[in-house]
């Protein structure tokens, strides 16, 4: 009743090809965007800084992994390292070009991680599946080693950590560094994530995205139909690592504030992978759901359990959260392999026929 497309006629090619062809979707997106914009006015700083900012950034990282795994069908266990590549590239760029707006540098740093991604994507031309997953592990451990052993990357800092310098932009607004307010950081992150997501949305529904999906669904058939696997796979690696790199740069510059090599360890790779699986492989909106779920579940348990009177140690909650995530992964793979995105679609379907379930 509230959600139906009947009566909405597409009279031009343009309206037929719109990202959101249905009016209700457009309204929904507008509402979500409006809510995202007013969040800083209603939410506490804790929610903004510890939930919203990392959630948005990790959602972008998840989209990156989704491009590779969900759309192009190449499993990667090295997302964390690609995020690190972006972060270190951004750190170097920020120290070499202190006067350029940090947002430009962040978008630029993805180019470097994309290069790294292409390099480690090369084996995908010969192997696939589980074997490829192991080669992405090589990328993970090799890059982590580079972050430790190449002191140039962290400006020969004695501690081996990178620390985010203070940068201003857009007038005299403090964008990064400890003095940047959560609200500023949130808006910058939101803007980047929204714009990049729109671009990716157009990529995956366009020619390139269709090529990726053809490769994923059946590579030989795709090749026979004129898709070049070399180009399709490497472009998927490039786009995916670009997104991961941008997410990694933002993760350090807008959330962590400083980072050690271990910040980009294999646990981050798994975290992002879980976000992609839970959210739904091959779905952009699912990436947001997955990121929200995996990021918020432990925090919700941590602040929620004591609030409802369950008084257990901090480490017990930590362990419960870990068990819950593991069990949920298995549960989702069994019950709904398409993840939260599928549930979302079912929900929309239900809304469409409501209140007449058999219409």
């Amino acid at each position: 009743m509230f959600y139906r497309e009947s009566g909405q006629y597409k009279t031009t090619y343009e309206s037929d090809q719109a990202i959101f062809p249905i009016r209700e979707d457009r309204i929904g997106i507008a509402i979500i965007m409006a809510m995202a914009l007013i969040t800083p006015f209603i939410a506490s700083e804790f929610i903004l800084a510890s939930i919203m900012i990392p959630f948005l950034i990790l959602a972008l990282g998840t989209i990156g992994l989704n491009v590779l795994t969900g759309y192009a069908g190449q499993l990667s266990l090295g997302t964390g390292a690609f995020m690190g590549a972006g972060a270190y590239a951004c750190y170097k760029l920020a120290t070499i070009f202190p006067d350029i707006n940090i947002v430009v540098l962040i978008l630029l740093s993805g180019v470097f991680s994309a290069g790294v991604g292409i390099l480690f994507g090369l084996p995908s031309l010969r192997i696939k599946g589980l074997y490829l997953a192991v080669t992405t592990l090589a990328a993970q451990f090799f890059l982590e080693w580079c972050f430790i052993r190449i002191p140039w990357l962290y400006n020969y800092n004695a501690s081996g950590a990178i620390e985010v310098p203070e940068r201003r932009g857009f007038g005299d607004l403090i964008l990064t560094g400890p003095s940047a307010t959560a609200t500023t950081r949130y808006y910058v992150v939101l803007a980047i994530v929204v714009v990049v997501t729109l671009v990716v949305k157009n990529l995956v529904r366009g020619r390139i995205g269709r090529q990726w999906m053809m490769i994923r669904d059946m590579d030989i058939a795709a090749e026979l139909m004129g898709v070049r696997p070399l180009w399709a796979k490497l472009s998927a690696f490039a786009v995916s690592s670009y997104l991961a790199g941008v997410a990694g740069a933002m993760f350090v510059f807008f959330y962590l504030g400083a980072a050690e090599p271990s910040s980009f360890g294999i646990s981050l790779s798994f975290q992002v992978l879980f976000m992609a699986i839970l959210g739904g492989l091959g779905s952009l909106v699912g990436s947001f759901f997955g990121a929200a779920f995996i990021w918020i579940l432990p925090i919700a348990l941590r602040v929620g359990l004591p609030a409802v009177g369950v008084d257990v140690g901090a480490e017990i909650i930590f362990q419960i959260a870990q068990m819950a995530v593991g069990a949920l992964i298995i549960f989702f793979l069994i019950a709904e392999p398409h993840g939260l995105a599928r549930l979302w679609a079912i929900g929309k379907e239900k809304l469409r026929v409501w209140p007449f379930p058999y219409a």
């Binding site: 192997i127 074997y131 080669t135 451990f141 052993r149 362990q319 298995i330 793979l333």
Partner: protein, 319 residues
């Protein structure tokens, strides 16, 4: 020229210069390789029978070792703790088959792999929840395993130190491989396992219960994990840090092939010795610490030339 010398001449000169040290490096690599091979063995068992790439093998090693030590800490005598730990691995096998593998039958490989990553997370949380997160000492003495070391003199002032526990590890690994070999080739269940590995459908049609087979292989992998956990725990501690080291079994598998038991052993030894030699003799050239990725790089390069592994079957998904 200097670089060439440093890469191609100097390391070998060092090897000849200190033969006892070279032998020690080989031995350390050999022992590490045996342990990698044991972990890889667990992978192979499960992969052969069910086509599941069991990412959780590493955490099963930790979990098994932890159960053994944790039970002993709670006052259970060592021999009983060992039996109970085996029983726990049996229960785990049953639970995994019932709750994870059976509902996911016929899903793509990637989904199965991810489910084992989920299992890994669950077991990490569960293990810490039950036994606590602190590293624990392996009850080496209580289990009747040898401690101490023997030093063999080589040449003048040369000394090769062999830890008894390492010798025991190698011996147990050998026994295990032999035992598994006999089990696979001579017993009824073993033949059924091989039939399942060859062709699920055909195996089903001659009356082999897939579910039963899966429980058995997961159980066998659990016992292998327990043995690995004891050995590795005796070398350092039983703690969750082992889980990352266990990932080294993946390059071992690529080298050896996913379905070959001898491959797991040979691959393990190549990776173990290779990375030790690389780290000690070539590592200093780039700042050391290359051990963390050398194995993966060896595997990656190997993949490009021989994707099926040393002993793998040729039916390999190639592009």
């Amino acid at each position: 020229m200097d670089t060439l010398y440093a890469v191609f001449v100097d390391p070998f000169a060092q090897m000849i210069d200190m033969p006892d040290f070279f032998l020690q490096v080989l031995w350390e690599g050999f022992v590490a390789g045996v342990l990698y091979a044991l972990i890889a063995l667990g992978f192979v068992l499960i992969f052969k029978a069910s086509g599941v790439f069991n990412f959780a093998q590493g955490i099963m090693v930790v979990f098994a070792g932890l159960t053994l030590v944790g039970l002993h800490e709670k006052g259970v005598p060592a021999w009983l703790a060992l039996i109970l730990a085996i029983a726990v691995m049996g229960v785990l096998a049953l639970a995994v088959e019932r709750l994870v593998m059976r509902p996911l039958v016929n899903q793509p490989d990637i989904i199965l792999l991810m489910s084992t990553i989920g299992l890994t997370y669950f077991l990490v949380g569960f293990g810490e929840f039950v036994f606590g997160g602190e590293p624990k000492q392996m009850i080496t003495r209580e289990l009747g395993l040898p401690t101490g070391s023997t030093a063999i003199e080589i040449g003048e002032n040369g000394l090769l130190i062999l830890q008894h526990i390492d010798i025991a590890a190698a011996a147990i690994a050998l026994l295990m491989v032999a035992g598994l070999g006999i089990f696979f080739n001579k017993t009824r269940i073993g033949r059924a396992l091989r039939a399942v590995a060859d062709d699920h459908q055909a195996a089903l049609s001659v009356g082999i219960s897939l579910n039963q087979i899966w429980v058995i292989v997961w159980f066998a992998a659990g016992i292998v994990a327990l043995a690995t956990g004891i050995m590795w725990g005796a070398r350092s501690d039983v703690s969750f840090a082992l889980e990352i080291i266990a990932l080294k079994a993946l390059p071992v598998l690529i080298l050896g092939g996913f379905t070959s038991i001898p491959g797991a052993i040979v691959g393990g030894l190549i990776i173990g010795i290779g990375e030790k030699l690389g780290e000690i003799y070539w590592g200093p050239l780039v700042g050391g610490g290359i051990e963390s990725w050398l194995a993966y790089m060896i595997a990656l390069i190997f993949l490009l030339f021989r994707p099926q592994g040393l002993f793998g079957e040729r039916i390999i998904e190639r592009v």
